[in-house]
Structures are given as C-alpha cells and as structure tokens.
Symmetry: C2
Subunit: 302 residues, 2 copies
C-alpha cells in the first residue's frame, strides 16, 4: 500500500556524501590514509557522489590537509563524482590541478554572515564565484554554488525567499552549474523550505543540519517538494558532536533508512553505510550523533 501522502515523492535521489569534508573538518585531523579508508567504505556502501576534500589552508583547517594527496590516492573510480570545496581562485587552481570532478564554492544569502566569514559583500562573493566558474569552465569542471543561511540567518533572521531566488539566479548567470541551498545553522523548517523552493524551483540541492533536530524532517519536506539532490554526512558528523545542541549534518544512514522505507531509491546499502559510520566513529574517537548508526535500521530485530 502506498498512501496518498507519499505519491509525490521522487523515485530516486542523489545523495552527496560530505562526511570526508564537512563531517571531518571540525574533528582532530585524520591522516590521508585514514580518510582514504573511510572513502573506500563509502564507495563500498554505494555512494557515487562524494565531497572528499577542501583545498584550503592546512594552517586554517588542519583536518583538511593533504587534499591533493587524497585526490591522487583515491584515483578516479568509475561512475563516481569526486567533489572538492574551494574557498577561492587559488583553491580552485589546486583542485583542478589535482583532477577533481566538481567544485563546491560557498556564498551566504545572509549579508552579515558573508561579511563575518569571508569579509566580502554578497555582490563581491558573486564576483568571486564567477571567477572560479570561469576557471573551472576552462577545465570542463562544473561548479556547485552552495548558498549558506538560505533558510535563515542567526544575524538577520529570515532571508526573503525572493532574495535567495535572486542570488541563485545571479550564481547561475555567473556560471554555476548547480545550486545547493544550505541550512547552515539549523533554521530551516518545512515552511521555510516550501517558501524558498516556491521561488527557486526544486532543481536545487539541499544541505541540511541537525542543529535544531530538524535535519531529517527538512529532508523529508524537501522530498515532498520534489528535491532530488541532498548532501548528508556519514554518522551525522559535522559541527561539534560534543557540544550541547550538536550541529552535525543529516546522517547519511538516517537519510537512507528513511528513503528505503519510503520507496525512494538512493543506491546506498543501509548495512554498509552503517559500517562506514562505525568506522568513522572509531577514527574520530567519540560517538557519532547518528541514532540509526547505533540502533540500526527498523528492520533490525531484537
């Protein structure tokens, strides 16, 4: 039986695993070899889209050191899209030299957040994204522009959906092949997602966090709105899992468990991705926030 409520869900979605980047960037640094072991487990689980590295200063983000070495070590598995985050033109040059398949760049829908994090106006950031897109186009590499604070800013509160949609348009006009709307501080709600997607259209990715315990709920709201591309992180890593109100990403295994039950195909094997979550838990040395990783999928029997 498939009930009325579920008929509009997509048959299949793409999950981009961001654990090796967003998930690990705030952890004590893992070696390149450890990260390759994790990526291997993620590939074994069936993931085909992975954000594997950030070409940033290893001084600023020690956990992301060795990005080029990591890309070389992974090689180019068939059918797999390897993504790297780049903060600027120099990062993009390094990532392209390393042979990455896709770049992500970030820009905030919140002027205050953008100013505080990259000391630029939104307009200046759009121009910087355009430069990266132009460079990447020369290498035939697509750029995904990740719009932070798309569902609210801790400084300004709600960002007008029309402003988010306008920014998405500007980024597309600047050469971004894809737009991902990020809920950087856990302010997304089903209402906000519906309101923003009503103006941007559903042809965006969603990058959701569990800061307020609403990540998976918002992913479900995104599915209902027709979104077919989501960023998630193995084990739900991201942010500080120790701090009260952990701010991790939606856990990949929780997204897969939900989609399995809804009949939405992800191509990811739930038991294998839970194994990968247990592996990264060992590596980081503390419990991952994901509950499905510890309790198992609903199919698990006592």
């Amino acid at each position: 039986m498939r009930s009325l409520l579920l008929v509009n869900l997509p048959d299949r979605i793409v999950i981009r695993e961001v654990g090796a980047r967003d998930g690990l960037q705030g952890e004590a640094a893992l070696s390149v070899d450890q990260r390759l072991e994790l990526l291997d487990a993620l590939l074994t689980a069936g993931l085909t889209h992975l954000e594997i590295a950030a070409f940033v200063s290893p001084k600023a983000v020690p956990a992301m050191a060795g990005a080029a070495e990591l890309v070389a070590g992974l090689g180019a598995p068939e059918g797999v899209v390897r993504t790297a985050l780049v903060p600027n033109l120099r990062g993009a040059e390094m990532a392209l030299a390393a042979g990455i398949d896709e770049l992500t760049v970030t820009i905030s829908a919140s002027a205050a957040y953008n100013q505080r994090n990259v000391h630029m106006t939104i307009e200046e950031s759009v121009a910087a994204v355009a430069e990266v897109c132009s460079l990447a186009a020369g290498a035939g590499v697509p750029v995904d522009a990740v719009v932070s604070c798309a569902f609210g800013s801790p400084y300004e509160g709600d960002i007008a959906p029309a402003a988010v949609a306008l920014l998405a348009e500007q980024l597309r006009a600047s050469g971004a092949a894809a737009i991902t709307l990020a809920d950087t501080t856990g302010m997304a709600t089903p209402r906000r997602i519906a309101d923003v997607l009503a103006l941007t259209g559903a042809a965006v990715g969603l990058h959701l966090h569990e800061t307020r315990g609403t990540g998976l709920l918002n992913l479900y709201a995104g599915l209902q709105a027709g979104v077919v591309r989501f960023d998630t992180s193995v084990g739900g890593l991201g942010g500080s899992p120790f701090a009260a109100g952990a701010a991790g990403n939606v856990a990949t295994e929780e997204a897969v468990a939900l989609c399995d039950d809804l009949g939405v195909s992800t191509g990811i094997a739930i038991d294998r991705i839970i194994e990968a979550a247990m592996l990264v838990e060992q590596m980081v040395g503390h419990p991952v926030p994901s509950r499905v990783a510890h309790v198992g999928p609903r199919s698990r029997r006592t």
Copy 2:
C-alpha cells in the same frame, strides 16, 4: 505566504506532556516536591494536558513513587487534564481514589512484546483494559488506551495496519474513550504512519520516540495526516539519554518550535517550555536530548 504543502495542517493541536511520567520513569528518582516544581513550570508554559504519574509499584519503578501524594500536591488547576498511567485494576483504583482526570492504559499491538512485558495475550490485555474502563466509567473518568508497537515491533517487524485498526476498534468497544498509537521502539516512518492512519482514521493520538531520530519527522507526518493530539516530553526525556541511540520522546519544545513555525497553535510558550527543559535537566543531572532546549528556537539571534 502559506505554501501548498502546508494547507492541510490543522490550526491547533493538543500536546499532552508526558515528561513527568514517561520522561522521568527511567531516571534516578526525583522527590514529589521536585516533580511538583517541574509540573508548575510546565503549567506556566501553557500545557493543559499532562501525564503526571504512574500508579505502579514503587518497588518496580522507584521514580514513580508517591503518585497519590503528587496528585494531591498538584491539586486540580482549572482547565487542566491530569492523566495517570495505570498498569492494572489496582492501579486504576488508586488513581481514581486520588482524583485523577484521565487514565492511560497500555496494550501492545505486538503479541510478542505484550507477552514479554505483561505476560498476557493481546486478547487477555483487551479484557484487562475493559475492566479498567468499566471501573473508570463509574467514576466518570475517561480512559486512553495507548497501543504500543503500533508502527512496528522489534520482535515481529511490521504489524499489519488492519490488525492495529482492529485492536483500536476492540479497545473502543471495550470502553476506551481515546486511542493513542505509540511508536515504542522508534520504528515509525511517514509511510507507516500514513498506512496505519488510513485504517484507524486520524482521530487518534500519537506517542512518538526519537530512537531512530525520526520522532519529530513522524510528528510532522502525523500533522499532515490530520492528527491533532500528540504526546511529547519536556527536554525529550524518556528512555536512556546516555545510551547510544537515545530513545527519548519527541521533545515538547521541538514540537512547539515546529508548530509555531507552521502556524499550528499549541498554546505553549516556547521560551517557557525551554525554561522547563533547563529545569528538568538540572534535576536529572545530565543533558536532556533536546537540541532546541540548548540552541534555542530559530528566532534566537547571535
């Protein structure tokens, strides 16, 4: 703007706060005075329906000791429905003698779970519920039959929605004024909720747990299906918040934060319920699982 996705949500729901019972039953025992202080904070937050006690053996559940004293201490605040869980006829007698407004009784949709927990067949449990209902009817007190494992059993897996609906019918025929469907081990999903409610109708309460991180998501699915009655627990207490894969109830403040944003009225003040969550956190002596309690609602600014 209110988007298409949200138009079918109810205008108003009733939240029954179960923190003083389900939330505290697994914690180190709090005194009656501490529990009265907590209940006072919950009333201040605007809650009108509270499960405040369980009339069970204090030897079996030390945290629930002093139920009659608690009811007497609370008195009968105007407009407030005070509920107590009773495991059997003897508990019901004590609860009615204490002057409670509503009884909850539990019965499992899972034969194996019911056998293991109360050593009775489902049929025998229905008969026991009928006895409690008959006794309560004499006192003019309604009984809410809480059906555990309504969305799946850790022993048998999915319980057929038709079996859940049949049990609900039998319980109503046995005198239950209300039916609450409980997701005892976190096996509910939006699909299961839709499938079960398609047969039971939406005139049931939902009692959801976060065992697999899906409690709030399932509450949202329930709202979309037209359910207007939910059990939640301040701070998300319930189960063991220390264990990996904490199995707490949906946090009241997370439900309120969601409903506030959706325009679904609960009558509960978000700041006050967060204060109550901080109070119970102090009382139990460890962090409550709720994220909104620690991070604050999305309206909170940096």
